[in-house]
């Protein structure tokens, strides 16, 4: 039973990462750049 619950929690965690976009490196990098670089250093 515990193993099933751990599987479900892992599944939920993975789906949260996918839904939020945190599983996509390009999106994470884009977010970091939009927060820091593009306004002050637009090159």
């Amino acid at each position: 039973m515990q193993k099933i619950s751990e599987f479900v929690v892992g599944l939920l965690f993975g789906m949260g990462l996918l839904l939020s976009g945190m599983a996509d490196p390009a999106k994470v990098l884009g977010w970091i750049c939009s927060g820091l670089g593009t306004r002050l250093w637009p090159w």
């Binding site: 949260g16 490196p25 990098l29 637009p42």
Partner: protein, 145 residues
């Protein structure tokens, strides 16, 4: 202020954060442990008897997430991630992340998700440090080199 609209998806981020928080809360309730992915994975490198099955179950759940997500989400929502780096660079980066999480006693999930929600000062320092380092490195690589 310049907004990167392609990467600005607040509703999806909010939904994802809620699901991540639910998973972290369930993990504490069901397992009595802090949900830290690096710790769960790291525990398999020096396995102890009776402490393996739940880790593998959790990781299998994470590995199954893209398949289940693809069933539930609209067809164009989940694009294949694009990594602009070779295998050698990925391995080197993975080693550095592993070292950092080991020295910092946690990763983004353990410190950033669970630690901050528990109002842990140690996790706040760790999260500010690795996020600050991430911002600095991306800035240097993308704008100065």
């Amino acid at each position: 202020m310049v907004i990167d609209w392609v990467n600005f998806t607040p509703w999806a981020s909010l939904g994802g954060g809620l699901v991540l928080g639910l998973a972290a809360a369930l993990f504490v309730l069901l397992n009595g442990r802090i949900l830290g992915i690096s710790g769960i994975l790291g525990g398999l490198l020096l396995p102890r008897l009776g402490d393996i099955g739940w880790r593998i179950s959790f990781l299998f759940g994470m590995a199954a997430a893209p398949t289940v997500f693809a069933w539930l989400a609209p067809a164009d929502f989940l694009a294949a991630p694009r990594i602009e780096a070779g295998y050698a660079l990925i391995v080197a980066a993975g080693l550095l992340v592993g070292l950092g999480t080991r020295y910092g006693s946690g990763c983004t999930s353990g410190h950033g998700v669970c630690g901050l929600s528990r109002l842990s000062p140690r996790s706040l320092v760790a999260t500010l440090t690795f996020m600050g380092a991430g911002f600095a490195i991306v800035f240097v690589v993308r704008h100065l080199l």
